[in-house]
């Protein structure tokens, strides 16, 4: 068949703009910024950023778990509605993502600031204002808010496709509601959980905007460090080394998670 060659321009494009750039990242990570010679300095410098990396992973993990806990009941409910309502609710979940996430995050800043909307209401009621912003909690809130639809989407798709006959069969064989969920629905939705988890974790661990706006200097994340190496500190070699570490770490995480799901197709949305 000749039609195989239809993919040729695409492959050339992807090699030029995906594979080669990654090779250049590796090249920069192992060379000196002044002399351009091979060095391990950038990679050994990463040790200094270990606490930040661990903090990023920790906050992203917490956010992913919260997204799962919040997203599962919502996806389960939507999947159980009749077809017309399903479409409508799914649209409502997706719609907020059409508006710039920068502005939505700014709206959260306006809500949680020390003199923001929530604290204005609290002080008007005669109570002390709460420290809502510039802490880990605010960063997690920002992550959960921004990436929750990414969790609900794959969960809904998987739960919706579960064969209703299986549920009925389990009921006929004497399962009560809790057991049907524990033994049939939940195990069948594991692929959705894994792909939702990755879709939340990857952008959350690498974010820099959310932590800049809702966090403080104490909540600097790995994304902030990479961004500053390219935009303010001008040390692209260190930035490249950190990007490389971030990438390798995410591929390991995805590999580990796919072990749980023993399904190779999970990550492909």
């Amino acid at each position: 068949m000749k039609s195989k060659s239809l993919a040729a321009p695409y492959l050339v494009w992807m090699v030029l703009f995906t594979v080669i750039p990654l090779a250049i990242v590796a090249y920069y990570a192992f060379t000196d910024s002044q002399t351009g010679q091979f060095t391990l300095e950038n990679v050994s410098n990463i040790g200094n950023y270990m606490p930040i990396l661990i903090k990023s992973i920790w906050l992203a993990l917490i956010s992913s778990v919260i997204c799962l806990i919040i997203g599962y009941p919502v996806a389960y409910f939507i999947a159980g509605c009749d077809e017309i309502l399903q479409r409508f609710l799914y649209m409502l979940v997706m719609l907020p993502m059409c508006i710039s996430f920068l502005l939505r995050t700014l709206a959260w800043v306006a809500l949680t600031e020390d003199t923001g909307i929530i604290n204005n209401i609290i002080t008007a009621l005669g109570m002390e204002p709460l420290p809502l912003i510039r802490n880990n909690g605010a960063v997690v809130l920002g992550m959960v808010y921004n990436y929750l639809p990414y969790m609900i989407m794959p969960l809904y798709t998987v739960i919706m496709k579960i064969d209703r006959n299986l549920v009925e069969a389990a009921e006929d064989l004497g399962c009560n509601g809790t057991n049907v969920f524990k033994r049939v629905i939940f195990p069948l939705s594991v692929p959705g959980i894994i792909s939702g988890f990755t879709m939340v974790f990857v952008p959350a661990v690498s974010t820099f905007y959310i932590s800049q706006k809702l966090g403080s200097s104490g909540t600097t994340l790995i994304g902030d460090v990479i961004e500053s190496q390219f935009k303010t500190a001008y040390n692209p070699n260190l930035g490249a080394a950190l990007s490389l570490v971030l990438m390798v770490m995410i591929f390991i995480c995805i590999g580990v998670m796919n072990r749980f799901g023993d399904d190779e197709e999970v990550i492909t949305l």
Partner: protein
């Protein structure tokens, strides 16, 4: 349990729309501070239409989104058809490459492209390589996988005998493609193009690393704005955009519902006829 889930879903949906409510209220606020409502006004809207900075930036975003999603749709649809007829080994390799930009964090994609352009710039001795072209290339690159992932399933669902039948009836492979295959995969192409368009229109992280000062898109400018106090007309712009998107989505939903109901009635009428015969 069902009742709990219902209430919970409503609460979560409300949570998702809180920032939109804040932005919409702020767009009618006469004060500069988003957190303090001074008074009701339409001034932000009239200022928006007299503005000569924001609207051209929105136009820039739309230009990049239209061009990049169009090119990605053509390249990606052709690629999907090619991948469909590949052997298992080549196919696994190609899908692996397709997955790279999907699984890589956006910041790494942005950084890698920025380094590539910097590298090419020093090689070819071009000083300001970052600009419209680099932005367009970056957008096409992250759009391509979305097009492929929405066209591939349609090709897999398609009955392979259809194409063979067309050729048995005298079509050349090219004719068979344009008369049969393209109709089967059009829904996938359309949804891929739409997805690419919205992703491109809203992209900030990758654009931020590859844009040049000569060609700025709206999300990048909003990021640069947020270092200074934000002007309320931006809230007005996004309230209008949100209202427009909401309207289109609700209309599309209603049309689908009408179609679904009509189909159901047709099926029922058809069944009744069969019974009568």
């Amino acid at each position: 349990m069902k009742r709990f889930n219902k209430i919970f879903t409503v609460v979560v949906l409300f949570f998702l729309y809180i920032p939109m409510i804040v932005l919409a209220v702020a767009s009618f606020n006469s004060g500069m501070d988003i957190a303090v409502f001074k008074g009701f006004t339409f001034d932000n809207y009239s200022e928006l239409f007299r503005d000569s900075v924001l609207l051209p930036l929105l136009l820039n975003s739309v230009i990049v989104a239209v061009l990049s999603s169009f090119i990605a749709t053509v390249l990606g649809s052709a690629a999907a058809i090619g991948i469909h007829s590949m052997g298992p080994r080549l196919r696994r390799f190609t899908m692996g490459v397709t997955n790279i930009p999907l699984t890589n964090p956006e910041i790494v994609t942005g950084v890698s492209l920025a380094l590539l352009f910097a590298f090419v710039g020093t090689m070819m001795k071009i000083n300001n390589i970052l600009g419209f072209m680099t932005l367009l290339i970056a957008h096409i690159t992250f759009n391509l996988p979305y097009v492929i992932l929405s066209v591939m399933p349609k090709l897999q669902q398609m009955d392979p005998h259809l194409e063979e039948a067309a050729m048995d009836l005298g079509c050349t492979p090219v004719q068979a493609f344009f008369k049969v295959v393209i109709h089967e995969i059009t829904p996938g192409i359309v949804s891929g193009a739409l997805m690419a368009f919205t992703m491109s229109l809203d992209d900030f992280v990758i654009s931020y690393f590859v844009y040049g000062p000569k060609f700025v898109t709206l999300p990048v400018e909003i990021y640069n704005y947020t270092k200074k106090p934000l002007q309320p007309k931006i809230y007005a712009l996004f309230t209008l955009l949100f209202a427009a998107i909401l309207l289109v989505m609700v209309l599309m939903n209603l049309l689908q519902v009408r179609d679904m109901k009509r189909n159901r009635e047709n099926r029922r009428a058809f069944r009744r006829k069969q019974v009568n015969v």
